[in-house]
């Protein structure tokens, strides 16, 4: 064998050592760091500042004062909005935690028929554009909704009121259930099933095992997501604006929105003050949550290999009733509202007094196809979702590499900066960006065009790209980087040639998630939209408030269809990437 080994040829004698770059790797890293930190922290500086000024910051003069906070606390409408919001948040959290936990146990620990399909279908509420779901619910279960009319007017039975706090909590709970479901399911997958098996060997039946062993073990996970959902419920805007309007119920975010857009003075300082307060409360809750859950739980998905295969609990004669019940739940919460949405986009009015085919009209769709504003909303939103999504994924990917795979001095500040935007209420980020664009010179460049909205939406959602990319990066052996460095590659070469190519599936998944979120998100831009720079969500909000509901339903259908197509395409490409 030794004789086959020969000395290398002369080619290699000429090999130089790797060249030094003209720009040190850290200069580029510093640039990425600066962009991220400026975008994330930037909006909050003028927000806090403006809440403390006696005059709007674009006017000359003005002094520091707490007057804005005093005005806010003196407003009885504000106090009522706070009470409503807290009741809503409590209701939503309770419903979501109870429902999500039950569903997670049903679908992962029992022999429920069809549990594989349900695991996917249960994700629908977070994939369906939120406004689409809300409008769909209104079309079916609202005051003049289709089924409400059937029950009330045709069957003369007592009806529910979706526009009450209880009704809104119900919808809030439905939307939040997937979050609980995912957290609890990850926790279940990570626990040792032998603990449950031991209880069964000791003679406990399935019900006893669940209540005495499984549930107590889930306590940390449940507490964790209860806090998360409570914090998220405090900032919700779409539900009170659409559902609360008929009964004049305001929540915190909708109170801020209405005071801003309907106020006598433009841009009142007490709105900024309200935003700062909410920011403090939500941040406090999320910090508390991080403390409670500890660092080991944060990225459960990163190594959720779990404790082996779980033998499922036998539901016995409840198997089929439970399965059918779950099917009915998905039908009522997702399928019927989506059908209602589609129906609503094709009729003059949604009523039970006349058969829908008599009311059929193509006018809503015609309007969507011809009206400049509506058309622009679609193209603008696609532009933001596609261009903004791609740019964000690239930026966040680089920032993630710097945060976790570089020697950059300030790298540890990046991970919190990447997490924070999603923790901040979207409306508040929007107000922050409004003031930023107004106060700083470069802001003027983007104030009156689509760029401003694109930046706000992308910053708000960049956390999503991070939470997809980081676990994948953590799974890449650090010796890959070291081998490349020993080969002579600098940091940027390693990023470009080694890490980003290996991360390709994660980058695509992050892009798909960014795309569908950017397409349907609207909270951060309700204060930024100007005529000529419409995006889908805000246009739907504005048309709805003017009572033009048909085209809104049509736009919601457009959103749902685009999201469905992107999800299907994304899943296909992802499968191909993974196979290769």
């Amino acid at each position: 064998m030794m004789s086959t080994i020969e000395r290398p040829s002369e080619v290699t004698a000429q090999l130089a050592r790797p060249r030094a770059r003209w720009l040190p790797a850290s200069a580029g890293q510093a640039l990425v760091w600066f962009v991220i930190v400026a975008l994330v922290v930037g909006p909050f500086v003028p927000l806090v500042y403006s809440s403390l000024r006696s005059k709007p910051i674009y006017l000359p003069g003005g002094t520091f004062t707490l007057a804005a906070y005093r005005t806010l606390f003196a407003d009885p409408l504000f106090a009522r909005a706070v009470r409503n919001t807290v009741s809503f948040a409590v209701g939503t959290t309770a419903l979501a935690v109870a429902g999500g936990t039950a569903l997670a146990i049903l679908c992962t620990r029992t022999n429920l028929p069809g549990r594989k399909a349900y695991r996917l279908l249960l994700m629908a509420p977070i994939v369906i554009p939120p406004l689409g779901l809300i409008v769909g619910w209104l079309a079916i279960y609202g005051q003049s909704g289709y089924i409400t009319q059937v029950v009330g007017k045709n069957l003369h039975l007592p009806v529910w009121n979706l526009s009450s706090i209880a009704g809104m909590s119900l919808l809030g709970g439905v939307i939040a259930i997937p979050i609980v479901y995912l957290t609890v399911q990850a926790s279940l997958a990570g626990t040792d099933s032998s603990l449950e098996d031991a209880a069964r060997s000791a003679g406990a039946g399935p019900w006893r095992v669940i209540t005495r062993v499984t549930l107590p073990m889930l306590r940390p996970a449940i507490l964790n997501c209860a806090l998360l959902i409570f914090a998220l419920s405090l900032e919700i805007l779409g539900i009170p604006l659409f559902l609360g309007a008929p009964s004049n119920i305001d929540f915190y975010a909708s109170y801020l929105y209405r005071s801003w857009s309907g106020g006598v003075n433009p841009d009142p300082a007490f709105v900024s003050a309200g935003a700062v307060l909410l920011l403090a409360v939500v941040s406090g809750l999320l910090i508390l949550r991080a403390r409670l859950s500890g660092s080991e739980q944060r990225f459960i998905a990163a190594d959720a290999r779990g404790g082996g295969s779980h033998r499922s609990l036998d539901l016995g004669r409840w198997r089929w009733p439970a399965s059918i019940g779950l099917g009915v739940y998905i039908g009522i919460t997702c399928v019927i509202p989506l059908l209602g949405l589609a129906l609503m986009s094709c009729v003059r009015a949604l009523t039970t007094l006349e058969a829908p085919w008599h009311l059929f009209t193509a006018e809503n769709w015609h309007l969507v196809a011809t009206d400049a504003t509506l058309r622009r909303s679609i193209t603008d939103s696609l532009l933001i979702a596609g261009g903004g999504g791609a740019a964000t994924v690239l930026l966040v990917a680089l920032a993630t590499l710097i945060a976790h795979r570089s020697g950059f001095r300030l790298r540890r500040t990046l991970a919190p900066a990447l997490i924070y935007p999603r923790a901040v209420p979207g409306v508040i980020l929007g107000i922050g960006f409004f003031w930023t664009y107004l106060m700083f010179t470069p802001g003027a460049l983007v104030r009156n065009n689509l760029w401003g909205e694109l930046i706000a939406l992308c910053v708000r959602n960049l956390t999503l790209a991070y939470v997809v990319i980081y676990p994948s990066l953590a799974r890449i052996n650090a010796e890959f980087d070291r081998a490349a460095r020993s080969s002579g590659a600098g940091w940027w070469t390693i990023a470009r040639r080694i890490l980003l190519p290996i991360l390709r599936p994660a980058l695509l998944a992050a892009f798909v998630l960014m795309f569908i979120t950017l397409l349907s998100d609207y909270d951060p831009v309700v204060f930024l939209q100007k005529p000529g720079t419409e995006v889908l969500g805000v246009t739907m909000l504005q048309y709805w408030q003017r009572g033009i509901v048909g085209p809104v339903a049509a736009l919601a259908v457009v959103q749902v269809v685009i999201v469905a197509i992107v999800l299907l395409l994304g899943a296909r490409v992802l499968r191909r990437l993974r196979r290769a």
Binding site: R482, R485, S487
Partner: protein
């Protein structure tokens, strides 16, 4: 061709001293092994040479280049040290073919395309993987992956090769073959090599010189024979295979040499070399102790009597536990012996003093 000089290297991780003032030199074309248990500092030393860890104190130089010098504030980044390294996990990039992996160090150095092609073919032929150039890593066996990692490490003709436990992911049979093969390759190419392992067989069979490390220090340094025969330190003796230790009084034998006397070995055990002090400890390898059945005619009549407590058959030899007075010795022998009385003899030159 360069030598590697490591001088006064120290490193602490959050208060724990991982490297404690380590100095050694690897001569040009020499194969030096850092041997020790996990946590002894051997990998930290290797990573410091490679540039993935910065020592708190000390200096590392290679030929005319200073890699790191804390006093002079020099710290050459890893990518400019021009080394080849093979990791325990091999770290073959999964998105590149074998050829692309091997070509990477050349592409980074902006080598021309034809030159890359020539060199990649050459290196792959060297590691006998020419036929697999277009395969992806997941299509290769463990042994093949290891050779890809090696090919990549030597593709840019580095002067120094660093090996971080490269055999630990191979099964026992393959490991032995890979060992011979790598040693031959290193010798032919004349690579200055630093090899990190916790396996004494690998260290003994491959190295020109072994540095045995523990607790961040080098305890013993020398050729495999020196380190094995004269470990000098109890830890080294134990780490390089089984060993018996006997403590007793130092005296002078009938021929004037040094002997160690214990209650059991009243006649004394002859130990080569000098020893200062009233008492000492010696190390004896199990295979160096002679035992024979006490009743056997023609057996040695010198030496104390012992009792076989346990015996196990290991194919090419027997392993016995023998009680002599209050001490128990492990003895390795070719001959089958029944439980019961035996005669034990430690021949001259079998023992060596340890601290």
């Amino acid at each position: 061709m360069p030598d590697i000089r490591v001088e006064h290297l120290s490193k602490s991780f959050s208060g724990t001293r991982v490297l404690d003032n380590i100095s050694f030199t690897v001569k040009d074309k020499e194969f030096v092994t850092l041997l020790g248990p996990s946590g002894c500092g051997k990998t930290t030393t290797l990573l410091s040479i490679a540039g993935f860890q910065t020592p708190d104190q000390g200096r590392i130089a290679c030929g005319d280049d200073t890699f790191v010098d804390r006093d002079a504030r020099v710290d050459l980044p890893a990518e400019r040290r021009n080394l080849g390294i093979v990791f325990q996990s091999y770290a073959i990039w999964p998105h590149m073919t074998v050829a692309q992996n091997v070509a990477f160090p050349l592409r980074v150095r902006k080598t021309s395309k034809p030159a890359i092609r020539t060199r990649v073919a050459e290196v792959l032929a060297l590691v006998e993987l020419g036929a697999l150039a277009d395969r992806y890593p997941h299509q290769l066996s463990g042994g093949q992956q290891q050779r890809v990692a090696l090919a990549r490490a030597i593709a840019s003709s580095p002067a120094v090769l660093l090996l971080d436990e490269p055999f630990s992911n191979l099964d026992a049979k393959l490991r032995e073959r890979a060992r011979d093969w790598l040693k031959a390759l290193q010798h032919t190419l004349g690579l200055t090599t630093v090899f990190v392992t916790h396996d004494q067989d690998e260290a003994l069979s491959m190295s020109d010189r072994i540095l045995v490390m523990n607790g961040g220090r080098i305890l013993r340094e020398g050729t495999p024979e020196e380190v094995y025969r004269q470990p000098r330190v109890r830890f080294v003796a134990e780490f390089l295979g089984q060993c018996n230790f006997l403590t007793g009084a130092i005296g002078t034998g009938p021929d004037g040499g040094v002997v160690l006397r214990t209650a059991e070995f009243g006649d004394g055990i002859a130990v080569p070399g000098h020893y200062a002090g009233p008492s000492g400890t010696i190390a004896v390898r199990p295979a160096d102790i002679e035992i024979s059945s006490a009743v056997e005619p023609g057996g040695p009549d010198t030496g104390p009597e012992g009792t076989v407590l346990a015996a196990s058959y290991l194919g090419d030899h027997y392993q016995y536990r023998v009680a002599v007075g209050t001490v128990q010795l492990s003895v390795r022998s070719q001959r089958p012996l029944a439980h019961g009385p035996v005669r034990v003899r430690i021949p001259p030159n079998a023992a060596t003093f340890v601290e």
